[in-house]
Symmetry: C2
Subunit: 483 residues, 2 copies
């Protein structure tokens, strides 16, 4: 099979006049020293078609560094050498070293020239202790890695900096994704930062304006298509095969490479002592796949001496992976009609399900689902630690509670929850929760919902007198003591 | 005058039974080695009354370190010693060193015990180049220091970590502020983090739910009082004199101490080479005061060899400082009925006006005002760099344009804009701007508003066909070339 011709990107205007199946832009070269590998048939190649699908079997690609296949080999970097290099870069003032992604560039695909890097100083996210949740769950070693502290407020930035940089290196002028939320915000920011144009495809109708506002602010062109979300995805796939537009949806394997750095940074923060468990929200499953890939690579390279168990938590209303494992033994994807208030993981047809299953198996992690009430409760409990996250992030704490009950997580073990988005990504959820508009009680969930009551803090309307305010403080103290 | 008795904080319940003017909680000791100084009468004292006002003349207090009054003195820290210490802490994994505020603790009031520190890893904010704005303005050395990248999305966090830590050290169980926005969000987060209760006083009615959602998420008790904002402020002042509630409004001088670290971190990022200009939005004027104080202290301590000019920009509709300088020669405050879409600086009666004027004079900075159209344009221009900020932050770029025209800033000079809040703090502004709902054209502003048209990117509704999308991309390229 002849390798696809690497494209010479041109302006849309120039190319669309003569687009045919034969001369459409068709490939992107693999970065030096790295190759694309199909996750299903294992086919290795030096370049990829623009839709980032295997040209043999159509499945997803991943990026692999053949040098690491035998970590003992002479060309593999040494663990202590890497740790020293990464630590030294913390003293640097150069933008590439200040990035919490590119600081770990030895484990990323290699750019020909670091001048192509598009960075907003992503990564560098805090690892918080959770003292109140620790006490509540009887789990002394509990942490939260907050990816919502990235520049656009979600974990997507760590992947976008890598994929957008490769788009720029390849000479693309347009990047595109189909997304109603965090992906489009992140893509638009990095495109703008790198002088690229960005296109967001969304279904007409149901969109979160507060999330779309970011893409607009960063100058994205937003098209509301008269179709559903799957229709947007299909059209995007066609578009990137027909026009010089770089595809930035989550099947882009460069994005997953950047998202790997969450795990590297986390381990550095833990002084390279692996936790027993890492717990991640499961939506499109790209993030769990990326974290798992990083853990396996770090283990191969002797950066860590043992693998943490990586567990994935879904919302009950968007539980495709849970059902795929329980009903189909992980052999075929069971899709669902997704419905959950945790919008960032409201996905019924997750693209990276095979990668995620591989990671669960390789690390011995679990897969669980949690209810809407459990999500709301967990989000309020994380908030009470002074940490604001979007609802999807809270599934991790809710899931941990289940895994503890099941005995999968044991009280002496150390656990890291991955929070994926900032509270400000979805202020509506918080308001509705505290106003009592979320989760109206039904016959089925009445007792569960009533447990949430103690966590609600609806604004209290008062006369502007000292007595009224002091009385409120006293009542609050009394009710907290009773609770 | 006998020093006020340091209070022994008790629960609200216990104290309110026997509150009288005589036995009300009355003072807080100054931190070791530091003293409170009245900004008007200069009175020095070792403790402060809970409303943080001078017990002689009622004006605001600031915190001063007598050791620095003669930086040549033997007990003053040396500049090179400080720089080395701060740099070394960048390799530390301890939460106090990981804080971009407490890392510079030699220039902060001293806590008796660092265990009292309440931190969310605030500070550590990026300094961005602005390549597109640089070209547009012909100003090669232009940067933005983005304080919106703090944990709760605004610069308030850097001050709150200090004030909340001192509240905890003093044994308080309640903290409070009157605020409809960034202050309450930040206060509630730090209170939660430190195991304190928080109280937010807001006027009934006009509040931004998306900003209040943060305070609710972090567990604050929110009271909507039947009064206006000034009424809330007055009641808060009474409350902190009558009950053991720690006051966290911006007149709390500990907050300004924390906010100083913006300038220290900035100078470290610039390798201690001072820029020619620092430009800050002016609302309540606490932030400009804090940055100015830091610059003066750094100059005293030989950390920098010359002072940058600190300039303050206000919205035309909230221009109290501009009018105070122009109409009253800076001698008395001219208050205004504030009205601007830049809600974070919609303040007509700025508390720290005297401190701000002192800073303008000491550094030789300017004070300017910008229109609503100029704010909207500047915000879109910053967004086009991939940097999302709230409208109030954008006054800095709009003001810079004016200061350049006036010749106050010269093309060869280096300029740092201080962005104070994250885009996600006010997604509504962005949406309204792109939908064309903001700034409807009137006879007066017609030409200015029409200039904004090229920056608008309203979502385009399309049939879900490849042709329709490709046509849109072509049109976009054409219109960008024409613009």
């Amino acid at each position: 099979m002849p390798p696809p011709t690497p494209i010479e990107p041109k302006a849309v205007e120039a190319i669309t006049a003569d687009v045919t199946a034969a001369n459409a832009p068709s490939g992107q070269a693999a970065p030096t020293g790295f190759r694309f590998r199909c996750i299903a048939c294992g086919d290795l190649s030096d370049s990829a078609v623009q839709n980032f699908r295997c040209s043999r079997c159509g499945d997803l690609l991943e990026i692999t560094n053949p040098r690491w296949s035998h970590a003992q080999g002479s060309s593999a970097p040494t663990a202590s050498g890497l740790k020293t290099t990464w630590k030294q870069r913390r003293d640097s003032l150069s933008p590439v070293d200040l990035s919490g992604v590119w600081r770990f560039r030895e484990l990323l695909p290699t750019l020909e020239n670091l001048h192509h890097v598009i960075t907003l100083r992503e990564g560098n996210t805090p690892l918080y202790e959770l003292p109140q949740c620790s006490r509540m769950l009887g789990l002394p070693h509990l942490f939260a890695k907050h990816q919502g502290m990235n520049p656009t407020g979600s974990f997507k930035d760590t992947g976008m900096t890598v994929a957008a940089s490769f788009a720029r290196q390849a000479g693309f002028r347009w990047v595109a994704c189909a997304s109603t939320g965090n992906t489009s915000a992140s893509m638009a920011a990095y495109a703008a930062r790198g002088g690229l144009r960005s296109l967001v495809l969304v279904p007409e109708g149901k969109i979160s304006w507060s999330k779309l506002s970011q893409a607009l602010d960063y100058g994205a062109v937003t098209c509301q298509l008269r179709t559903d979300f799957d229709g947007c995805l299909r059209l995007l796939q066609e578009l990137v095969l027909r026009a010089p537009v770089y595809q930035l949806n989550s099947i882009n394997p460069f994005r997953l490479e950047g998202q790997k750095t969450l795990a590297i940074e986390l381990l550095e923060q833990l002084d390279w002592q692996p936790p027993d468990h890492i717990i991640v929200p499961g939506g499109n499953l790209g993030n769990s796949s990326a974290i798992g890939k990083a853990l396996l690579e770090m283990h191969d390279l002797d950066l860590i001496s043992r693998l943490p168990k990586l567990s994935i938590i879904q919302a009950e209303g968007a539980n495709a992976l849970v059902r795929t494992l329980r009903e189909a033994g992980g052999k075929r994807l069971v899709t669902v009609q997704a419905e959950t208030s945790a919008t960032a993981i409201r996905i019924g047809n997750p693209a990276s399900w095979k990668k995620a299953i591989r990671v669960l198996q390789a690390t011995g992690g679990a897969c669980e689902q949690v209810s809407e009430v459990e999500i709301a409760r967990a989000k309020a409990e994380i908030g009470a630690e002074g940490i604001g996250c979007e609802p999807a992030s809270a599934v991790t704490l809710a899931g941990l509670r289940k895994l503890l009950k099941q005995g999968f997580v044991k009280p002496g073990e150390s656990v890291v929850l991955v929070l994926t988005g900032h509270l400000l990504k979805d202020p509506g959820f918080t308001m509705e929760f505290h106003r009592g508009e979320l989760l109206p009680a039904t016959a089925e969930n009445e007792s569960a919902v009533s447990e949430l009551q103690a966590l609600r803090r609806p604004p209290i309307v008062l006369d502007a007198t000292l007595d009224a305010v002091i009385r409120t403080l006293e009542q609050q103290e009394k009710s907290d003591i009773q609770a």
